[in-house]
Symmetry: C2
Subunit: 398 residues, 2 copies
């Protein structure tokens, strides 16, 4: 088992760096090369499906990437952009949801409102991994624009997951399950809001004491172990209240501020971000390569799929570009915010997968062709974002 | 899935550091605390079995630990102790095998020679992870004594796996499978020897060119990715020829010598051992905690098991202490070599597991009680080694 995983890791890491090299030579971000390397590997007929453990390592990678992104910011800094991020995120969920609902109703009139709502929901959640990686590679993670994008992307993950959970509750009650009603939906929303506010409030109060206490432990590499534990624990907590684990990992990163670790630095341990960086470098390319591997090039050959995909992609792009317009502040680049919110990734695919398994009145919530169209939306928005974002942040536009 | 793994990781990392702290305060090596933390976690009735992914992360951890140990040495340095290590390893396999065979023949006279041979085989392979970790924690990895221990431990892994593969071939032919005979055994041995000699010879020739070529790749963190790929590829290769993956990881570490990476250092990347260290710090405690979790305290209550265990443990300890005596060289501590070779770990348990699934003349090759006795041998030799090794390497004995 470990041997097979080792062979995959060797191949994926090497492919990621070679493809990243080609991307850089073509003045594109390395992550684009990694995604395309995944598309090629995933569509070669003689390559078997990767072991499940590779997916786990990829998911650990994106958790730690968001943790690292969180570490480069503080709760106070996030609060400063918080109102703007909340506004951007809300419009970034409402606009694609409404446009997606309308597009589905226009193109697939035979389906029910729940079907249309589900298509709208799959278009809501921003794939913050792509944007975080590109901003990190460009060295602009700490600009106000970047903070608004990252904050809004995390918030719209929360809103998107809440919308999804609500629709699933409605679908289940429409199929004769327990009636969900507005009470059930309110509980889902309340849990998500409580977790985030609770984690940030309680975390801000206890993180310094936690780190000071941990610094009394006489063993090696305590800072890394305690920091990772904190990240993993909040990731689990986020999932337990129905949010994506990455939301918890990001919150953990925000909470662990540099001064809290001073006792560790004094005894000779390296700063947490220095320790996390090689782990992220190891695991994150696995995430992007495996994300590319999920793309089936065959779905691109069906004209009906392509038509639906073109409309949904347009809707998805416009819905997110619009939300950048409400980003205020003199130092904020509104177009960059909109572009940064564009990519849909694993969350969109996870939503679509949930839809494949549910039916309303006997009709699948997401048909095979709708699924393929959603995959194309994910491909286009994901692949277009890195070069656009790079161009927007290049010195000429600064 | 990822959420459950995250919760386990948070708990295991925290438990490892707290237990490591207690061990250090009691003047014991941290790894002993980690093993005992695992024993406690694994025997608490209300804790469910860990997800399989945790085992994968643990195995990745021990791979990277051996890679790191290999990085701290070179092929040339190993060759200097090679003859001694080979001698120590050979006696370290022959002595426990012969003594284990004798003990089994005396205590379990109803069984066949193949049964006795199998018990002997389970006592052969040194668990190099424990010794490597303790030597690393003590900061003596680069002493001649440490090199002999590590070289011999890797070689006796090879010899032990060869013995196991040979016995399994004989068992299968005794059960009417394809006749294995001495030809089949010779092939197993030849493959193992060829892999190691081939990897070191070819690797020494191509590693500098490989690294110089890789240094032309324009992407970030190329050194880490290429180094890990090399490690994982040789780990897979070792497994493909029937050796333990850790043998390949160790060889990869030996082959990647500091000067080969100079082009990376020149462009601002950190040295490979600095990059590997945090990944090892993250994953290795998971290995030791999960190893402790495999220990069932209930097996210690059966007097027959305890009697067999006492004899096999004595045999296992004496068999390895003896092999230290042939370690020559003025700078070599023969007793330390013997102690360093003592621990049996995952390899012994893997052997025992293989035996549980095979029968000779309808009788299981390893009965439930023999299995429990082998588990006790693993516990005692593993737990005794860190404090003994620490004591032996403490300044008074230097």
């Amino acid at each position: 088992m470990i041997a097979l995983v080792a062979l995959w890791l060797a191949g994926v890491l090497l492919a990621a760096k070679i493809a990243g090299d080609i991307a850089v030579r073509l003045r594109q971000p390395p992550v684009l090369g990694e995604l395309l390397a995944g598309v090629i590997i995933g569509n070669l007929p003689f390559i078997p499906a990767p072991p499940q453990s590779l997916t786990l390592l990829a998911e650990l990678g994106v958790l730690l990437l968001l943790f690292e992104v969180g570490l480069s910011s503080t709760v106070a800094e996030m609060m400063r952009v918080g109102a703007t991020a909340l506004l951007v995120a809300t419009l970034g969920v409402v606009a694609p949801f409404a446009l997606g609902y309308g597009a589905s109703a226009a193109l697939l009139p035979a389906l029910t409102p729940l079907h249309h709502a589900f298509v709208g929901a799959t278009l809501t959640a921003t794939s913050v991994g792509i944007t975080a990686r590109v901003l990190h590679d460009l060295g602009v993670s700490r600009t106000p624009t970047a903070r608004i994008i990252l904050g809004a992307a995390v918030i719209d993950d929360i809103l998107g997951l809440t919308v999804l959970a609500s629709i699933v509750a409605l679908v289940e009650s429409s199929n004769g399950g327990e009636p969900a009603g507005y009470g059930g939906i309110a509980i889902i929303c309340a849990k998500a809001a409580l977790f985030l506010i609770g984690a940030l409030a309680v975390g801000t109060a206890i993180a310094p004491h936690l780190m000071r206490g941990a610094a009394r432990l006489k063993s090696s590499s305590v800072l890394l172990a305690v920091g990772l534990s904190f990240c993993f624990f909040l990731a689990w907590g986020a999932n337990a209240v129905g949010l994506a684990p990455i939301v918890g990992a990001y919150a953990a990163g925000l909470l662990l501020e540099k001064p809290h670790a001073s006792a560790f630095i004094a005894r000779g341990e390296k700063p947490l971000d220095d320790l996390i960086a090689p782990i992220v470098s190891f695991l994150v390319p696995i995430f992007f390569v495996t994300m590319g591997m999920h793309v089936s090039l065959r779905s691109l050959t069906d004209p009906n799929v392509v038509a639906l995909a073109v409309v949904l992609t347009a809707v998805g792009v416009v819905g997110k570009l619009v939300c950048g317009l409400v980003a205020g502040g003199r130092a904020t680049d509104r177009l960059a915010v909109g572009i940064g919110m564009m990519p849909r990734g694993e969350v969109g695919l996870i939503f679509a997968n949930v839809g494949l398994g549910l039916t309303v009145g006997g009709v699948p919530l997401v048909s095979e062709s709708t699924y393929s169209a959603i995959v194309i939306v994910v491909i286009v928005t994901t692949f277009a974002t890195p070069p656009l974002l790079k161009k927007r942040f290049s010195p000429r536009n600064a």
